[in-house]
């Protein structure tokens, strides 16, 4: 497995648990899970580009 699928899986599992445990209604759980997922993946992409720029 390469790094990006690993990031996606990590974000999926972690945001599922965060969504269910940190909110009370199913719709708010889903929205919070989606929010966490996008933050996980988005920050990984941004940091990766930053590291690429620094390494040049």
């Amino acid at each position: 497995m390469t790094y990006f699928p690993a990031v996606l899986l990590f974000a999926l599992f972690a945001s599922t648990v965060f969504g269910i445990t940190q909110r009370e209604t199913p719709m708010r759980m889903f929205r919070y899970g989606l929010y966490c997922f996008s933050l996980f993946v988005g920050s990984a992409i941004v940091l990766s580009w930053l590291m690429w720029l620094i390494a040049r």
Partner: protein, 144 residues
């Protein structure tokens, strides 16, 4: 109104908020312990089947991905980080104990992704602790 609230508070065996009756009965720490030992079991005990199944799938998936990436199941403790890793892994409860007893996982990180796999295993344990505490909060009425 106040009389009704007092009645509810007096009737509930484990009222956390004081005014809300708790619909569950039995040992108050059962969901916490069950949830720690078996991922999702804390919610199953409370009849929250959907949430329990999703939590179990997430924790098991994270743990299995860690194993598939040749993550280490902490066998030796050398420094403070190893102790923290062991604590994180133990959060998975029986899953971690069985994996350790069965000799699953790599003895040493030998491929690049193995470090990630080890972290997946640690984080699976930490997520399981969060899920178990959530089950306890449901049981005590702190969360609905």
């Amino acid at each position: 109104m106040a009389t009704e609230e007092n009645k509810n508070a007096a009737a509930g065996s484990g009222t956390a908020t004081g005014t809300q009756p708790v619909p569950y009965e039995g040992f108050v720490y059962l969901p916490l312990i069950a949830g720690w030992l078996v991922p999702g079991a804390g919610h199953f005990v409370l009849g929250k089947w959907g949430r329990g199944a999703l939590l179990a799938a997430s924790v098991l998936g994270m743990f299995a991905t860690g194993l598939a990436m040749h993550g280490e199941i902490g066998s030796e403790v050398h420094n403070i980080l190893d102790i923290l890793g062991l604590a994180g892994g133990l959060g998975s409860g029986l899953l971690y104990m069985v994996a350790r007893a069965a000799g699953w996982g790599a003895a040493q990180a030998q491929v690049t992704t193995a470090d990630w796999g080890t972290r997946f295993i640690w984080v699976a344990g930490l997520l399981n602790v969060i899920a178990a505490v959530d089950a306890h909060n449901l049981r005590t009425g702190r969360k609905s």
